[in-house]
Amino acid sequence: MATNNKQTEATEHKKHNPTLAALLSIIPGLGQMYNKRFIKGSIIFILFTAFLITMFDFLSTGVTGLMTLGVEERIDDSRVFLSEGILSLIFIAFFITFYVVNILDARNDARKLQRGWKVPGMVEGFRNAWDTGFPYLLVGPGLILLIFVVLFPLLFMGFLAFTNYSLYNAPPRALLEWVGFKNFIDIFTVPALRGTFINVLSWTLIWTFLATTLSIALAMFLSILVNDPRLKFKRLIRTVFILPWAVPGFVTIIIFTALFNDNFGAINADIIQPLFGTSIPWLTNASWTKVALIMIQVWLGFPFVFALFTGVLQGISSDWYEAADMDGATRWQKFTQITFPHLMFATGPLLITQYTFNFNNFNIIYLFNGGGPPVRGQSAGGTDILISWIYNLTFTNSQYSLAAAISIILGIFVATFAFFQFRRSSSFKEEGQY
C-alpha cells in the first residue's frame, strides 16, 4: 500500500509540466497556483492586477504623450509630456521585468516539483521568500533613487537630443517636435557648427591626454625619488607633495586665476616681467590659457596619484630588487621590469578614472577662464572642452537640443573608453570573475 502510494506520487511528479506552468503564468499567478502555491499565486495575481488597474491610464497617456509631445499650443507643455512619457517607459520596463520573472519562477517551481520537491508550508514559504528577497530589499532603495537622479535625467537628455528644443522654440510657448537625427546631422554638416565641434573635440582630447599623463608621469617620478631610502626629511616632503590634494580644488583654481591675471597677477608682474621684460597673455590668448590650464591641472592632479604610487612602492618586496641586483640589472631595467609593472597593475583602473575625470573636468575650465578667451563666430570659447561647451549651450545659449545631442556624443566617447580600458586592465577582469 505504502509503495503503491509512493508510486502514484512519483508519476504525479512526472506529470507536472513546467511548460504548462510557464504558459499559465501568462496570467500572473495562475502558474503558481498550478504549482499548488495558492497564497503566492494569489498575492502575485493581486499585485499585478492592482498595478494594471491603477497605472493603466497613466501609462497609456504617458506613452501617447511621448509620441505626440502635446497637441495644443500654449496649453500642453511638451516637457511635462516628455517627463511623464519617460516615467511610463521606466514603469513599463519594471512591469515587463517582473512579468518575465513571474513566468520563470512558475517554470522553476514546476521543475522542482517534477523532481519530487515538496511545496513548503506558508511559514516556511515566507521565510524562504525573506531569505532570497533580503539582498534585493537592501539594494532596492538605492536602485530606485539612482533611477531618479541618474537614469531618468539621462533618458530625458537623450530624448531631448531628438527634439527641436531651443531658445526660439521653447515650451510652454511652443510645442516641441520630434526631428529625428537632425541635431546630430547638423553638428557634422553645418560648417560653423562642425568647425566648433572639431576644435572643441580635439582640444578636449589633447587636454585629457596631456593633463593626465603629465600628472601621472610627475607623480611616478617624484614617488620613486621620495621612496629612496637615502633621503632626508622624507615625511615632510611627502606631506608637502600631497598638500594640494587637501586644498579644495575650486579654491585653488580661483587663486591660480588671480596669480595668472594678465595685468596684475603675480606670475606676470613678479616673475616673467622682471626676468624677460615682457608679459604673457595668460587669459587673453587661447594657446597660453591652454598651457596655464595644463600646468594647473598637473599641480592639482598629481598628489592623489603620488599618494597611490607611494603606497604601492612601499608594498613592493625588496626581494625583487635584490634578485635583480644579483642578475646585474641596471637601474633602468629595474624600473621597467619591476617598478613600472607593479605600479600599473595595482593602480590601473584608478589611473583610467583619472583620464575620464579630466575628460569631464568642468570645474577647472569653467572657473579658470570660463572656457575663454572667446572665439569670434563660435559658441564655444578657445579653451572650452565638450562638457563646458554643453554647459554653455544649455545654461547661457538655451540650445537645449543641440546640447543634448553633443552630450550623447560625449557619452558614447566616455562609455567606449571606459568599457575597453576596463576590459583590458587585468585587475578589473579579476573583479568581474566572481
Binding site: P135, R230, A246, P248, V251, A266, A346, L350
Partner: protein, 273 residues
C-alpha cells in the same frame, strides 16, 4: 652606501616642495596685507600683519552661517553614506554570482562615468518639483551619487572577508540583518574610514552641486560664498585670499592631523592587494 644621505635628490625635492607651496604661500601672506602693500609687491612679506581682511571677509560672506551649512551637509552626508552604501555594496558583493546582481553592480558602477553637467538640467527641475532645493536635497544627492564609486570600493573589500564568518554567525542564530551590523560592518571599518574621508572631502569642497541646487541665500555653503569675490577680484585680492584661507583651513587641519590615516586609507581602499 645605503645609509648615506642622497643630498642631490633631497635638495631637488626641497626645491620641488617650494614650487608646490608657492600658491599657498602667496595666498597666506597676501591675506595679511593691505591692498597698497600687495600693489608694491605680491611676493613680499607684510610689514604689519593685519587681521582686518579676515574680519571684513567674515562679514561679507556671512562666514559662520556658511560654515554651519557646510558642516551640516558634510556631517550627515558622511553618516548616511557609510550606513547605506556599505549595506548596498555588501548585498551586491555577496550575490555577484547571481545575474541580477551582476547587472546591478555594473549599473551602479557605470553611473560613475556619467558627467554631472549633462544631467544637471533635469536634476535641477526635478529637485525643484519636489521641493528639495535645500541642504537636505543636497545631502540626498551626495549619498546617491556617492553610491557608484563607494560600491566599487566596498565590493572589492567585502570579497576579501571569508564567508565562513557569516555562516558561523547564522548557525549561532544571528539574523541576516544582525550579521551585517554585528560582524561585517565592524570588519569594514578601514573601508568605512576611507569612504568617510573621501566623502567628507568631496561634500565639503564641492562647488557645482550646491551652486545649482541651493536656492535660498541663507543655505549657501562655504565654497559658494567665496564666489562673491570672483566679481570683485580686481579691486581686492587681499580680502578674497583671506576668505579663501578661512574656507580651506578646516580641511587643511583635518588633513595635517589625519594625514597618515588618509593616505593609508586611500591606498588601502583603492589598490588591490
Amino acid at each position: 652606501m645605503r645609509n648615506k644621505t642622497n643630498y642631490i635628490t633631497t635638495i631637488l625635492l626641497m626645491l620641488g616642495s617650494v614650487f608646490i607651496l608657492f600658491p599657498v604661500f602667496i595666498t597666506v601672506i597676501n591675506a595679511f596685507k593691505t591692498p597698497a602693500e600687495t600693489a608694491q609687491s605680491i611676493l613680499a612679506l607684510p610689514s604689519v600683519w593685519t587681521f582686518d581682511n579676515f574680519k571684513t571677509a567674515i562679514e561679507m560672506t556671512n562666514f559662520f552661517n556658511a560654515f554651519a551649512n557646510s558642516a551640516y551637509v558634510t556631517f550627515f552626508t558622511v553618516i548616511f553614506t557609510i550606513l547605506s552604501n556599505s549595506l548596498v555594496a555588501y548585498a551586491i558583493a555577496r550575490n555577484l554570482h547571481r545575474k541580477a546582481f551582476k547587472f546591478l553592480y555594473f549599473y551602479l558602477v557605470s553611473a560613475m562615468f556619467v558627467p554631472f553637467p549633462i544631467i544637471m538640467l533635469p536634476i535641477v527641475k526635478q529637485m525643484s518639483a519636489i521641493g528639495l532645493m535645500n541642504l537636505n536635497g543636497l545631502i540626498i544627492l551626495y549619498v546617491v551619487y556617492g553610491l557608484a564609486f563607494n560600491t566599487f570600493l566596498y565590493t572589492g573589500y567585502v570579497k576579501t572577508i571569508p564567508k565562513e564568518l557569516e555562516e558561523a554567525a547564522i548557525v549561532d542564530g544571528c539574523s541576516k540583518w544582525g550579521v551585517f551590523w554585528r560582524i561585517i560592518f565592524p570588519i569594514l571599518s578601514p573601508m568605512n574610514a576611507t569612504v568617510g574621508i573621501l566623502t567628507a572631502l568631496w561634500a565639503w569642497n564641492d562647488f557645482l552641486l550646491p551652486l545649482v541646487i541651493l536656492s535660498d541665500q541663507g543655505d549657501r555653503t562655504l565654497p559658494l560664498v567665496q564666489y562673491v569675490f570672483q566679481s570683485q577680484f580686481a579691486t581686492n585680492y587681499n580680502l578674497a585670499f583671506a576668505s579663501y584661507l578661512m574656507a580651506l583651513l578646516p580641511m587643511l587641519v583635518v588633513y595635517l592631523f589625519l594625514q597618515r590615516r588618509i593616505i593609508s586609507g586611500v591606498t588601502q581602499g583603492a589598490i588591490k592587494s
